[in-house]
Amino acid sequence: MSTELWYALVGVVLVAVSFGAFMAHTHLFRRLLAFNIMGTGCFLILVGLAQHERAPDPIPQALVLTGIVVAVASTALALILLRRWFAATGRTTLPEEDDA
Amino acid sequence: MNQVALPAWVLASSLLPAVIIFLLPETTRALRTSLNLGAAVLKVALVALMTWRVAQGSLSQVRFEMVPGADFLLRADPMACLFAGLSAILWLFTTIYAIGYLEGAPNRSRFFGFFSLCVASTMGVALSGNLITFLLFYELLTLSTYPLVVHRGSEKALAAGRVYLTYTIGGGAALLLGVAVLHGLVGDIEFREMGSLRDISETSWPILRVAFGLLIAGLGVKAALVPLHGWLPQAMVAPAPVSALLHAVAVVKAGAFGIVRVVYDVYGIDFARDLQLLLPLTIIASVTILWGSLRALWQDDLKRRLAFSTVSQVSYIALGISLFGPIGTVGGLVHLLHQGIMKVTLFYCAGNFAETLGVHRISELDGAGRRMPLTSIAFSIGAFGMIGVPPLAGFVSKWYLGLGALEAGMPWVLGVLVLSSVLNAAYFLPILHRLWFRPQVAPWPDERTFGRWETSGWLLLPPVVTAVFTVGAGLLANFAFSPLQWAILIARREYLP
């Protein structure tokens, strides 16, 4: 089993676990963290799976760089909304969920 | 204007006024009134012109493709002229009546806007040359009458509106499904004399039967066939001109007219017979006739009694259609007009009693004949016409229906006719008796005086004129362009290829 495939499998585990966490948690910050880990796993799969049994392929790496910037931007936006929400209501969860 | 576009002009002559009136501010009374009347007169002229052309055998139409495989088609054929002529004339008088009736009432721009829209869609129903165009205007009619039914905005009116919608939207759904099924089977279905489904393989006859059921169910709602008639008595909370519109000019008639179109111009009368579709229709119609008359007996509210009478009377049309043979057809078609004229008279009069004396219940009518002679005379003529007393219009209809029943070999229908005539007499004569032979007991609930006339001229003219029509349609039945002659013309085309 090549290293790249190993990366991909690690990515799979990360995605699966963090997806579970995203679903399980109600605390918005935890869910955001879960989302970020999910993103990382996704990038691992993208890079790893694309170039195993093959010459290294720079395209997925570039895609991942783009993906990272997008992920950073959305995380930042989420954090700002989250802080605003907390500042406004003192809640760490969405209204429909019980404040766990 | 070139004659090809004539149907379009007829449609536009009430569509454009509708749009303009919507934009008019509430206060511009004179302009709105003249616009209403002008449009109504213009429409009568246009329809007359169209009828004249059709009588000479020139067939004019407007056609373009709406969605792939479905055309928008307006066409002037004899049957279209029959219905268009009726509603054009009655619209003129109903407009006059409505102007007088809504004097000083709120939301008149809205009212007259939808009023014109309603008649525009009726014209569309009359002139539509294929099923999908018919469906289009049939639904438009539903939409444009709802605001009129709920016009008063009272709880009662809104409730009636809800009932009206529940029935008509449901009916519309059935109709849509039926049309879609037929369309899927044979493509775009144009109305054609002798129908256009003849050459369909035996295997798909069951589907044709289902489709027929769906179509009749959809149309039966507006035509108030039992058990789909529930909305009609509810809807009488609407202002009197709207009741006239619902019962005589537009809605109920659109349903009946649709049934005529489906039986004759989609399926074709003899093909319908081969599918064994006529007998069920006859039975439903007969049941409706008797049920409506029976229910009418027990109503004390005048408009409510008239409403049930409509339920019964309109089914004469369905009855005549379902009788195989030209005479029955003539009876049905001619009643389409006659019932309209007579029933509109009765509703005008009922409105006059309500507006002038504040009388809504039959038990309060004692002696009204002396107070409002002209209105009462008009009412009496209408009532006698409904009962079928010669030489009034109603008699002509029933005569042909009776002969048609014999021709179709269904003598039991004769019994239905006789029985319902007796019932008609039973619920109309007491009213006349109260009008003329009972002295006034109590003061009128809410009397208004209008100078030397018994009521406002706007309100008085229409019933008088339509009453005269009622007499004329009976007496002059043998002159050219009389309803009877026109119906005979159509019947000839439907049976003789």
């Binding site: 869910r31 799976l49 783009t66 997008v70 936006l77 989250l82 | 969605v67 639904e139 809800r162």
Partner: protein, 491 residues
């Protein structure tokens, strides 16, 4: 040959010009930069109209970015669907922008409103980027740009509710686009390319492709708010400023749907089994029922309209089921396209009209509309017209769309879809007339705010076009068939 080239230059312009105006409005944020915005709207409209016209004349247009041919480079592609949606976006976008420009600003005293315009133009650019994208990863970036600017527009509507709605929306959007990205990663691993066309040529039914399509479908359905993944939509659309609600309901949900449609028709069509298609359709039917039911029982006018969007999305998926799993895909395609267009026009008109009514009565409750029919008849009329189209009553775009879908369903012998379509119409009639009835009720105290005349005009024009498009549907549908992934489609 020159003309198609000119046409092809319009593709990047359709994206670059809104971006440019995003920058311009960002240089000095103002609440109402009328004279800065109007030229932007005009050029945007002109470009999209030209694009549509060029497509209708020359067929599919392609613009190879950076002159690097696919699959190494990225191309923009304008087929009938893409250019029509672009035109629709520019029209509805301009309408909402005008509505916004006519809004008296003392109505919202929030400083955040300064930033409406940059986000608005970013949003427009993102939509065009999605309509014209031909590359799976590029679609992802476009979708993210769209999602974030939409979230921003919701968030600046002000108030804690807006924040909560924006957060809920953002989480859903992020999860959805991540699922999509996973799917894309798998597809790239399986086929070594990101260009939709090149993958379509070699797509084979194997595990990795199935999983990829499943992830893509799930992600995009979440973004399209397909029942039962719709929970985020109603609050997000209801709390926003009315023009924002209009844009979101009319266009944003369509973006992810169109992406799904393209991928399904190009990559999935040889892979998706009829039973899977039926499954999607079943969810659509569920959406029709659930959305309609919720709309019937909500007291808040904008929540009612938002739930109506949930229901209308259902029709799209029923159409997709007929497209993938029916025996009359051409009819289904036409119906689907017409539903896309008609709903976009009708729903934007309805949200704008609802905003006017709410401003007039000063309350969000349907019950408080009593008597408004006399005060703001035009807005109510627009609402009614839009309602006619949503109900699918003739004459309207909604009717023609439903008619075509109905024909397709009957031709495929799939009666259950016919029932769903017609039943949905009845439900819609239920909640539309609930509003109309309430407004016809005789008002007790007729104290209404006066609303800008321009508002009525904009809403009425949109509503009328949603009616007219149904009567003259043949022309637009001919364009929408250009480059359609159907057997015997003109390209």
């Amino acid at each position: 040959m020159t003309e198609p080239l000119v046409g092809a230059t319009l593709l990047p312009l359709a994206i670059v010009v809104p971006l440019l105006w995003a920058v311009l409005t960002l240089v000095r944020p103002r609440r109402r930069p009328t004279w800065l915005v109007l030229p932007g709207l005009v050029s945007w409209l002109a470009i999209c109209a030209g694009l549509w016209w060029q497509t209708s004349r020359h067929g599919v247009l392609t613009h190879v970015l950076g002159a690097w041919p696919e699959p190494l480079g990225i191309a923009l592609r304008a087929d009938g669907l893409g250019s029509t949606m672009a035109l629709l976006t520019s029209v509805i976008g301009s309408a909402c922008a005008l509505y916004r420009l006519w809004t008296p600003m003392d109505a919202d005293t929030l400083g955040a409103q300064h930033w409406f315009w940059p986000l608005f133009f970013m949003f427009g650019a993102a939509l065009n980027a999605v309509w014209l994208a031909a590359d799976l990863f590029n679609m992802y970036v476009g979708l993210e740009l769209l999602g974030l600017s939409a979230v921003g527009l919701v968030a600046i509507s002000g108030g804690a509710n807006a924040l909560a709605a924006a957060l809920r929306y953002l989480l859903a959007a992020l999860l959805g686009s991540l699922a999509y990205l996973l799917g894309v990663a798998l597809l790239y691993a399986a086929y070594g390319s990101l260009a939709l066309s090149s993958i379509a040529a070699v797509a084979t039914p194997n595990t990795i492709t199935y999983v990829a399509l499943a992830l893509i479908t799930a992600g995009l359905c979440l973004k399209t708010a397909l029942f039962p993944l719709h929970a985020w939509l109603p609050p997000a659309h209801a709390v926003s400023l009315s023009p924002v609600s209009a844009l979101m309901s009319a266009l944003v949900v369509k973006a992810s749907f169109v992406m799904l449609l393209r991928i399904m028709m190009d990559v999935g069509v040889s892979i998706v089994t009829p039973s899977l298609a039926q499954g999607l359709g079943a969810l659509g039917a569920g959406a029709i029922a659930w959305g309609g039911w919720q709309a019937l029982r909500h007291a808040d006018l904008k929540m009612l309209v938002a739930h109506s969007t949930v229901a209308q999305i259902g029709y799209l998926f029923v159409g997709m089921a007929l497209l993938l799993g029916g025996s009359a895909p051409e009819l289904a395609w036409d119906g689907l396209m017409l539903q896309l267009v008609a709903h976009a026009l009708a729903k934007s008109a309805m949200f704008l009209a609802a905003g006017t009514l709410i401003a007039a009565v000063g309350s969000y409750r349907v019950a408080d509309l009593a008597g408004v029919s006399r005060h703001t008849p035009m807005a109510l009329f627009a609402f009614g017209l839009a309602g006619v189209s949503l109900m699918g009553l003739p004459p309207s775009g909604g009717f023609s769309a439903k008619w075509l879908l109905l024909q397709s369903a009957l031709a495929s012998g799939q009666w259950h879809w016919a029932v769903a379509l017609i039943g949905g119409g009845a439900l819609t009639a239920g909640y539309i007339f609930r509003v109309l009835g309430a407004s016809f009720k005789q008002g007790t105290g007729d104290t209404f705010e006066s609303t800008p005349f321009g508002w009525d005009v904009v809403a009425l024009l949109l509503a009328l076009s949603s009616i007219v498009v149904g009567v003259v549907a043949t022309g637009p549908l001919a364009v929408l068939r250009i480059g359609a992934p159907l057997a015997g489609a003109t390209s």
